[in-house]
């Protein structure tokens, strides 16, 4: 049981690495203008996070909208 769980986690991270590398070079600048001229150090630093959260970054990469913060004041704001 534990072996299967660890295998699934390893597979998940392997897929994540394959998605994270193209993401830091192409996807990040699409989802965030601050990443357009991001340094090599920045690209290197976000690889582990991108590999761990790949379903989320894939969704952002394929989508259009930049995420907006959701808070009580932002929800209650006049339209």
């Amino acid at each position: 049981m534990i072996e299967i769980g660890l295998g699934i986690i390893a597979l998940y991270l392997l897929v994540g690495i394959f998605i994270a590398i193209p993401f830091v070079f192409a996807g990040a600048k699409k989802v965030d203008p601050g990443a357009v001229e991001g340094t090599w150090g920045f690209k290197l630093l976000i690889i582990p996070g991108a590999a761990a959260l790949w379903p989320l970054i894939l969704k952002r990469w394929m989508g259009k909208a930049h995420p907006t913060e959701c808070s009580a004041h932002r929800r209650a704001a006049r339209r």
């Binding site: 990443a35 920045f42 959260l53 995420p67 004041h73």
Partner: protein, 342 residues
Amino acid sequence: MSVSYQAVGWNAFKKKYDLLLWAGILLYLAIFSAVGLALNPAATAEILLIRATGTAAIFLLHMILCVGPAARLDKRWLPVLYNRRHMGVSMFLLGLIHAVIVVLTYHAGADLNPVLSIFVSDAGSTVGTFPFQAFGFLALVILFLMAATSHDFWLANLTAPVWKTLHMLVYVAYAFLIVHVVFGVLQSETHPGYLALLVVGFVLVTGLHLLSGAREKALDRGRDQDVAEGYVDVCHIDEIEDNRARIVSLSGERVAVFKYEGKISVVSNACQHQNGPLGEGKFVDGCITCPWHGFQYLPETGQSPPPFTEKIPTFNVKLEAGRILVDPVPNPAGTRVEPAVF
């Protein structure tokens, strides 16, 4: 608050902070190893390193957990809070070194997968066979997630509330690590001093959180607010120091009522960066400045000065006989509102 992301937004303070942090860590590792070797000459280098990195990581985790509530209770802790993420990443690296040496020493070289071995080597229900290593592994996974998402890129792309929720998992990691230590090293090191240190750390962490929580609750309770024509009477202008703010709860969240240059402006209290308490900051160089990481906003618009792009909700405000009246309905983030002039 960077136009283009860098690996680290260095400044003189951060350099000094990291230098002190790593000098302290290396000094601790050296002293721990030297004292350990003097007390137990038979100890191997691996054992000394496992224990030195493990205790250093646990000590840093306590510091990290204490500094947040400590800064709410006493502003002198704010400089330590300012670069807490580097302390967190350093703590994760120490935990990772600890785990790698454990795996190489106790789990590698056999037929069994070393990671699987962590889970099956202690899998009983008695104190002696309790799977304490699995708890350490799971805590390390949480700390990895936190370290991996510590860059501002993740704050902007997950948004502060989601990022903060993810980073709240540190309390789960702390609980796992307490179990890891109690059922692990404390089973072989039975001197009561070690257990006492862990208990003191736990009491300090929970005590500071309870104290600061009680203070925050009192702030939210506030006074009875008079409502006139939809506007809420929050206080008299003389109750706010120049270039400072009064924090009050309105529309389900806190707002910061800033007094500066003979004017009053009201903005949502949560900084867009890490939801830091803007109302505990100051008005510096024409901007509301977050006390946590120095993110800035123009008081009339709630926007960061160009070329930065952060925006927070603003509130309509007026003065009547020196009383500050605030419209509780927020304006969309970045909306210009004329300040009340006195």
